[in-house]
Symmetry: C2
Subunit: 267 residues, 2 copies
């Protein structure tokens, strides 16, 4: 749609449970977020708090074929923990760091419309797959110098909230916003990035393009859990995202400045 | 600041536990809200859900001199229930009714700054008293045809969330927004309005001004719990709110149109 040279920068940053559960690391990460020059969106996952709350309330977590099912009671829990507790605490902390943060779920201002997952054999319950991101509203809020903090809860437009994967939300927002911004998508997780030697944190690959990825896959250097993550990264790049950076959430500052993690680009 | 004749209408509507806890009544109330011509803000209380969750989690609710104390665990609960569960369910329902609803706490976009309550003898814990309402941000969002759904959680600007009375939040927003709007503040509660005979719901007084209030207080027709409510209403009127309507939340449509409840005005 537009050339990257004159479009505004937007960072879409996803952080997960490993950081959300640790107040000190979270603070460090939010401080890095607060120093971003340019527009920024933070998408957070849930951490262990939702699992713990379900346990405390004796709500059994159903697993089918290794996947968690979101029944009505579990939906209540994730809505409370993600959109309430975690979201508002992050917002309050960012506000204290001088960021005009606004915490929203996908239902708010119809930011992310989704549908209940349809699957041939498994009923995932109230799990949502993203249909549409409200680009104009997000753009409008960013232009007010508001930084958005997004909880991984969406809605179906018919009054039903849906539990949605935070990685997917980050990717959906990043690709949708590429229409108007030069988007850098950062996935903060527990590893240092793509490792050439799984046992050696210092073996992190600084840069990876599609050719390199193919080679590393063939050589079985990249395998298992990393493959869907990286496939998703390339999908985002194909849809217009400028770069995808994956690395350790607790050194977010270095990730933002490209001094750590693995930067993934098309070519 | 401005004359009422040419300023835009804004409804600030507060609903409490009696309606939030009953899905059918809530739906009716939200349908009435969705039919409002003009700008609208909904402030919701918590209902019994927070109390129930505390009970289920074995978190004792401390009361000191008849007032509930918000300790750290209770703050987590109200943040989850008010800003998460209730707020997002109301937003999703309003979206399904065609309202561009956005659910926010006082921390979001720094909408409501508060301070931890200072009291000579009681430590209320994480209870906030309102300092400032972000009029320009609320105005901006309303002008985008967004209807705001506000959860009674505020922040102190230093990263601390605070539990804040929903009636007070509604009043603070209503008075602050009177700078720019002709504000009608509606308190939906469990009674039909100001009753001339406490045992007779049909004895609701349609209109009350300050003189009438003085008389009714002297005659002991109005007493106890109603007095602080009505004192607050007159305080709001003195600060620029056009009218305060109190009545049964479940007939919100009639309250909005002035066909039920008690309308309180200065003169």
């Amino acid at each position: 749609m537009s050339s990257s040279t004159d479009t505004e920068l937007l960072y879409v940053i996803k952080i997960g449970g490993n950081i959300v559960d640790h107040p000190d690391l979270l603070k460090q990460c939010l401080t890095a977020f607060s120093n971003i020059k340019g527009k920024a969106i933070l998408v957070h996952g849930g951490g262990k708090m939702a699992t713990q709350l379900a346990k405390d309330l004796n709500i059994p977590q159903q697993m089918v074929e290794g996947r968690r099912i979101t029944d009505a009671e579990t939906l209540k829990i994730v809505t409370m923990v993600y959109a309430g507790l975690i979201n508002k605490n992050i917002v309050a902390q960012l506000q204290s760091l001088g960021v005009q943060a606004m915490g929203l779920s996908g239902a708010d201002a119809n930011l992310i419309k989704a549908h209940k997952r349809v699957h041939a054999s498994i009923d995932y319950g109230f799990v949502g797959d993203v249909d549409e991101v409200n680009v104009s509203m997000i753009n409008h809020l960013l232009q007010q110098n508001t930084s958005l903090v997004i909880a991984p809860i969406t809605h179906d437009g018919n009054g039903q909230l849906l539990n949605t994967n935070a990685d997917t939300i980050a990717q959906s927002i990043a690709t949708a916003m590429s229409e108007k911004y030069a988007v850098h998508l950062i996935y903060g997780f527990e590893k240092d990035g793509v490792l050439l030697d799984i046992k050696e944190p210092s073996s992190v690959l600084q840069h990876m393009n599609k050719d390199k990825y193919q080679t590393l896959k063939e050589e079985k250097v990249i395998f298992e859990g990393m493959i869907p993550k990286i496939d998703n990264a390339f999908l985002a790049l194909e849809k217009g995202v400028k770069s995808v950076i994956i690395g350790k959430a607790e050194i977010m500052n270095e990730l933002i400045h490209g001094n750590a993690g693995t930067t993934i680009t098309q070519s």
